[in-house]
């Protein structure tokens, strides 16, 4: 039953999408701004739907962090509406001529940017993602099927109802934005089997959800993966900079995929650098999972930091919290080998003043984003100037790294002849 209902919803979105694909930017932006106004105007209704979700969450003993992401008040509804105004201000990727030429035989060739079609989004109980995803999909000409976590069912239903009513007011099919939260986990399974109905599935959430989707989906998936990010403090690093960058990367915001998870320190500077870096991190409450050599150095320096011996598992753990794996490496090759073995391909950074080290690190690390002398926290669509971000892809096909509106499109080849036949 769920499969049929979800596939019917996807089919409706698919049938609605061509009318959106051909809208001009002016119209799309007008709809986005009207949606923002409608959300603000109907904030009370949205907040009271959210209260029902919060009640259920409290009864189920939801963790404080998750509850905070779920909770809405009028100020948060304003912020969500602002996401739509921001999307309206972004350039429209659709129609861009990506490549083009006239062939020797006179055929005119153009590759133009077009919407992907129908995007399936699977994410956690975060109502702001519902609106953000719907807005970015609309701006890029895509219909969207949203599966946002049953814990946010009432909030998402209220938000989607507002967005759909604005579509109808603009004589657009409501099924450009479809929610399937009421189908629970079965809805995700049905989406994964909607081959030919959904063009791409984007899971955003924990590693378990993402693995489940990647391994089971018949629909193409863009993996917004985990970030086991590394920073290498090279022998020639400026230690003042290193201190600022490492503290920023680990503590400016925890629980995000571009936060630092493993610190590698070159042996030549380890005895000076490690105690220096550890002090402000320890002060911020970071606990260290250290290899034997780091342990020795930190202990000898009389560190006040909380240190525990690193296990093999630590080199592959995305803590998403105030924990940090720490290891001394003998040289750049040793560091590169460690990164190759343990990186999730998200973001790595080298701190160095040596040109050759920087060149080698940038060239040899095979991650979506590779940095020198900068905090991994910059690995982000907004920071990159995309204006909006649908996630950070850790796969290599189609989209790699921060995904903006451009990554929600594909190309189409247009070939215009004057009676051309192939010799």
């Amino acid at each position: 039953m769920t499969v049929h209902a979800v596939h019917d919803a996807a089919r409706a979105a698919r049938e609605a999408q061509p009318s959106l694909a051909r809208l001009h930017r002016d119209t799309k932006d007008a709809v986005l701004l009207a949606m923002a106004d409608a959300l603000v105007a109907r904030a009370e209704e949205i907040v009271s739907a959210n209260a029902r979700d919060l009640e259920a969450a409290d009864a189920a003993g939801m963790a404080a962090g998750l509850r905070d992401r779920l909770a809405l008040d009028p100020q948060r509804v304003d912020a969500i509406a602002q996401q739509l105004r921001d999307a309206a201000a972004l350039p429209d990727p659709v129609g861009e001529v990506m490549r083009g030429s006239v062939l020797r035989n006179g055929l005119e060739l153009r590759q133009v940017r077009v919407p992907l079609g129908v995007i399936g989004m699977v994410y956690e109980a975060r109502p702001n993602v519902t609106v953000d995803a719907a807005g970015l999909a609309l701006k890029s000409g895509n219909a969207v099927v949203l599966r946002g976590g049953s814990a946010a069912l009432h909030s998402n239903t209220a938000l989607i109802a507002v967005l759909r009513s604005v579509l109808a007011e603009h004589d657009l099919p409501e099924d450009l934005i479809v929610g399937i939260d009421e189908h629970g986990r079965d809805g995700v399974d049905a989406l994964m089997r909607a081959r030919g109905l959904i063009d791409v599935l984007i899971p955003r959430g924990g590693a378990g959800l993402i693995r489940r989707v990647v391994e089971n989906s018949l629909v193409p998936v863009i993996e917004t993966g985990t970030g086991k990010t590394h920073i290498l403090v090279d022998a020639s690093a400026d230690l003042d900079q290193a201190e600022a960058i490492v503290v920023n990367a680990k503590t400016q915001r925890v629980g995000v995929c571009n936060a630092l998870e493993t610190l590698l320190v070159h042996r030549d500077v380890a005895s000076e650098a490690l105690p220096r870096l550890a002090a402000p991190l320890a002060e911020a409450g970071v606990r260290f999972h250290v290899d034997e050599e780091s342990a020795g150095i930190l202990t000898a320096a009389g560190t006040s930091a909380e240190i525990v011996p690193a296990t093999e598992e630590d080199w592959d753990t995305e803590y998403l919290g105030l924990e940090l794996a720490v290891k001394v490496v003998s040289d750049l090759d040793d560091a590169l080998a460690h990164v190759r073995a343990h990186s999730t391909g998200h973001t790595e950074s080298i701190l160095t003043r040596d040109l050759l080290s920087q060149q080698r690190f940038l060239a040899e690390v095979d991650s979506a984003v590779v940095m020198a002398n900068a905090s991994t926290r910059f690995s982000d669509g907004s920071e990159f100037g995309f204006g909006a971000e649908i996630g950070i892809s850790t796969q290599k096909l189609h989209a790699r790294g921060p995904m903006g509106l451009v990554e929600m499109t594909t190309g189409k080849w247009l070939v215009v002849g004057q009676g051309h036949v192939r010799p």
Copy 2:
């Protein structure tokens, strides 16, 4: 056992690949040219290995068309060597700066083109594909795992041995090119499960093989799909041009994915156009699967063509032979609806002198290649000027339409700061 052996082979290719990723174009081209020379020099050995495959094929009663694709002689080995020389002459996509800017805060941002990593190719018993795929992979900096059909086992083994010996002569790891033909169908299953070892799997072959890979692979797949291509003869079409284009699209080469499979004719010109188009096609031996209206028109015109009533199945069949589905459409909307329902998203063409019809067809048909007044046979990497083609993708993610060297690469973001931390 097969899984372990295939995964070991893929792992070896993965370990070898970084040494190739950093080679300059001059070196890669020199290796390709040396491979071409080695194939010519060792043609006798290759042809005699091929003779063993042909013997087995004859014993098994292989169809003539398949046997012809399998057969090698010194001239064909020359032609295969030429493919490598052609690859050497192509520009190197690796290192291209795709996007780049300096952010407001001074961070330098560049997206550069890098190899995908390890490409798995699954294809039929065509020894020329073995060399072509290996050459294009090498040029684009990728290691390749080749599974070319057990009927070509001895031929492929001989060809791969020659290529690997040239790698070794150039101090490159032989495992940049790995063949796994000896593992038969189980080898394909093992490749599909080589997640983390193979970056992308490209199946080339019949619809059954492609569906099996798409539905079962845990590794990302690029689908080189079937081509149920359509031509619409619009009311305003120049019928001289239409005749030339339709004959070219259907008969210039049959059995290829960009050959015409369904002819749609606008009702306003059907009684004139259909008999005119049918005559030269019938002469070329084409059999027509016609809807009722086409049947009436052709019969009334006293056609000599062989016509059979079209079944529902005909609208979805890729004949790959001298067969053609024919249907009269009432107008452009009717044609667009038929294409939407039955196209495989490969290539469609409109023949028209009406600007609005052309605009609407190019905008509204959602296929990889959409043409006006040109034969569908131009939907091809060589014709597009890519110089080489690894296949034609009918999916929307990553690569859509003819795939050349560029489509065998991905992007990597390089971010260079001077001690940047995120505020």
